[in-house]
């Protein structure tokens, strides 16, 4: 166990470079979290203005990804990190890719919100979408908390939560299909809702990925594409 090994470098400059990069990833995560919440609010309350703001903020998310990426390659080139430090930089690079994807999904939801705002609102399970969104954004929040605290148990809890989100997603899909079968006139707007639900489900998957990078960084073990039980066994051994 060398959880926070990178704190013990002789060069304090190097230490603070690594800490800074971590802080920036988490700041980016905070922004992305807000993007999810606001995009869904725009969808549920058909607030076009808020949806447009989410689209604008996505540019900032993309910028942050590029900046952090550059910082990481700078550290790789100048410091040539090994062991725990290398794993940290590696986990950061992977995490920001997932965060950027989450940002894209949020933007997609915001686009659907604009489209949906111009249509009649009956016959779409928007309240349930709000619920799924709260669930998913909590997952992203917990994954980032696990990343901040380097907490393997919390990361495992996020992975477990992904299963619940998947079940909720399936239930919502069935509901949407029922809506469309009952009244074909609702198909267009229910399709918009389906796209948003799908985006939320994808966000859940990205949150799970982030928690896997946390386990990779702390334990040095690759737990991607493992079942939940195998993943827990690996992480706890």
């Amino acid at each position: 166990m060398s959880t926070l090994s990178y704190r013990s470098h002789i060069s304090s400059q190097y230490n603070s470079e690594l800490e800074d990069v971590r802080q920036r990833v988490l700041a980016m995560g905070g922004l992305v979290e807000q993007q999810i919440i606001e995009a869904t609010r725009a969808l549920v309350e058909s607030d076009t203005e808020l949806a447009e703001q989410v689209s604008r903020n996505d540019l900032r998310v993309n910028q942050l990804e590029v900046q952090i990426d550059e910082e990481c390659s700078g550290i790789l080139a100048r410091r040539q990190p090994t062991a725990g430090d290398l794993r940290l930089v590696y986990a950061v690079v992977k995490t920001i890719t997932d965060l950027e994807r989450i940002g894209d999904e949020a933007e997609k939801i915001a686009r659907m919100a604009v489209d949906l705002a111009s249509q009649e609102r009956t016959g779409a399970p928007l309240v349930e979408v709000g619920h799924l969104s709260r669930h998913v954004s909590q997952m992203v929040h917990d994954a980032l908390d696990a990343f901040a605290r380097m907490d393997v148990d919390a990361a495992l809890a996020v992975a477990r939560e992904d299963l619940a989100v998947d079940r909720e997603y399936e239930a919502l899909m069935r509901q949407c299909i029922t809506f469309m079968m009952e009244d074909p006139r609702t198909i267009r707007r229910v399709l918009d809702v389906i796209w948003s639900v799908r985006a939320l489900e994808r966000i859940g998957d990205h949150a799970r990925n982030i928690s896997e990078y946390v386990i990779y960084f702390v334990k040095g073990k690759d737990v991607r594409h493992l079942g939940l039980e195998a993943m827990e066994r690996e992480a706890r051994s």
Binding site: S16, L26, A27, L31, E33, R149
Partner: protein
């Protein structure tokens, strides 16, 4: 300067002692015929004794709590005594410092606001229990982590990275989206920062309530006005054409009703404003509650028009100290509510009684009842459980607000029990010091002052 080269008297004494011992051994050795071996053995023995004391000292230094310093003679005894004294002094000082620190932390702990001490890079150095609850910080785990890693709201991140921390910033709590927090950072010496976190949810809720009130009040006042204007717009060209007012009798009675409604609304608002202004009137009258309730009984009968069975069960001598108009409005509002919300044929039971805890007034009806989720908001101004119904019965939406505020002035408490479709019981309890001593129950004490 030359003194430094001389051995100190202490050392000289030790050397003399050693020489004496060796001399004695040499004399003994010369007597038994082994001079040099005896000297060597003596020297070796004293070396071994010294080494023994030295190792004991080392093990004591490593684990000062488990190993006791043994008693020793000579110079080692003095060394041990000195060390023990030093340790005792240090312990005392440590206890004193710990007490001061504990006192400081206890005082910061008692603060209702969260306090977090941050190091030069924004890492958490210390935080109190309030901060733990507000931000979801963990006691051991989170010390040393950067605060910006845990509180990640973009508004906060932006504020945190500023150079100038004037003002505060508000965002929702990282652990509970319903809690609004206000952050304020105060820098102090050595790049340290103190972060104060306050829960401002109640404040924000209050602001929303105030905004809602203004919106509701203007809406309620505008509705009758719209009706009045609508009729006037039609009437004016008609009368100008020389039409008679004769055909307008039914619209006119409607207009009168709307005007009366507006008047009632404004009266209620004024009453509420007076109650809220909290004018403390030291003069308290002795109120003849049974007579007031007899009046309320008559009003209720008139309102009900014989559609309900109204029962009044009044203790005849029980009187109260308070203000006439406030107390009367409590009775009237609760009883008229019961009449309005009880369907035809229902029973309304009004009781006024005293016991050891004070005097009580209750109104029980067999009306439509109130859902549990509406109960906490019932005394809010203009809060209506069912908007259409309550307007139809002519309520202003202010009755229970008035009751609540009036009761506050009378030190009374309102409790509501209700079940949907079964009925509702409102009970007002007045404390014992409000109750008149001459009331029929002898155990009631006289009011103070």
């Amino acid at each position: 300067m030359s003194r430094a080269w001389l051995p100190s008297p202490d050392l000289l004494r030790q050397i003399v002692q050693l020489l004496l011992r060796v001399g004695l051994a040499a004399a003994f050795g010369a007597w038994i015929g082994f001079l040099w071996p005896t000297i060597a053995a003596t020297l070796l023995l004293s070396l071994i004794i010294h080494l023994r004391y030295l190792t004991r000292l080392r093990s004591w230094l490593n684990t000062p709590k488990q190993v006791d310093l043994p008693l020793a003679d000579g110079i080692w005894g003095e060394v041990y005594d000195g060390l023990l004294n030093l340790q005792k002094r240090n312990r005392k000082r440590k206890r004193k410092l710990a007490a001061i620190l504990a006192e400081f932390q206890a005082s910061t702990e008692a603060l209702p606001d969260g306090a977090v001490v941050l190091g030069p890079n924004g890492e958490i150095v210390w935080f109190n229990t309030a901060a733990q609850a507000l931000l979801g910080l963990r006691v051991q785990q989170d010390v040393g982590l950067r605060i910006a890693n845990l509180v990640r709201k973009p508004v906060f991140t932006e504020y945190f990275s500023r150079d100038d921390y004037s003002g505060e910033v508000e965002c929702d709590s990282p652990i509970n989206a319903d809690t609004m927090l206000s952050f304020r950072i105060i820098p102090y010496g050595n790049g340290q920062r103190l972060m104060i976190v306050r829960d401002v949810s109640d404040l924000r809720r209050l602001e929303t309530a105030r905004r809602d009130f203004v919106a509701n009040a203007s809406h309620e006042l505008r509705t009758p006005l719209t009706v009045l204007r609508g009729y006037l717009d039609v009437m004016e060209p008609e009368t100008r054409k020389g039409g008679s007012l004769h055909d307008w009798t039914s619209p006119m009675s409607e207009m009168r009703a709307q005007a009366a409604r507006m008047e009632a609304l404004i009266n209620d608002l004024l009453k509420l404003a007076r109650l809220e202004a909290n004018i403390i009137n030291t003069r308290q009258d002795l109120l003849d509650v049974p007579r007031m309730l007899a009046r309320t009984h008559e009003q209720a009968k008139t309102m009900s028009k014989g559609q309900h069975r109204i029962e009044f069960d009044i203790e005849p001598e029980l009187r109260l100290y308070g203000r006439d108009s406030e107390t009367q409005s409590v009775f009237t509002n609760l009883v008229s509510n019961a009449v309005q919300y009880t369907p035809q044929g229902g029973i309304i039971n009004v009781r006024w009684w005293g016991d050891d805890s004070g005097a009580h007034f209750s109104v029980a009806d067999t009306g439509i009842g109130i859902a549990e989720k509406d109960l906490p908001r019932l005394t809010e101004r203009f809060y209506r459980v069912d908007t259409g119904r309550s307007r139809a019965t002519g309520g202003t939406g202010l009755g229970l607000s008035i009751v609540k505020h009036a009761l506050e002035h009378l030190d009374g408490k309102l409790s509501i029990e209700s079940e949907l479709g079964v009925g509702t019981t409102f009970t007002c309890s007045f404390p014992i010091h409000r109750v008149h001593a001459g009331s029929q129950r002898n155990e009631l004490r006289a009011p103070i002052g």
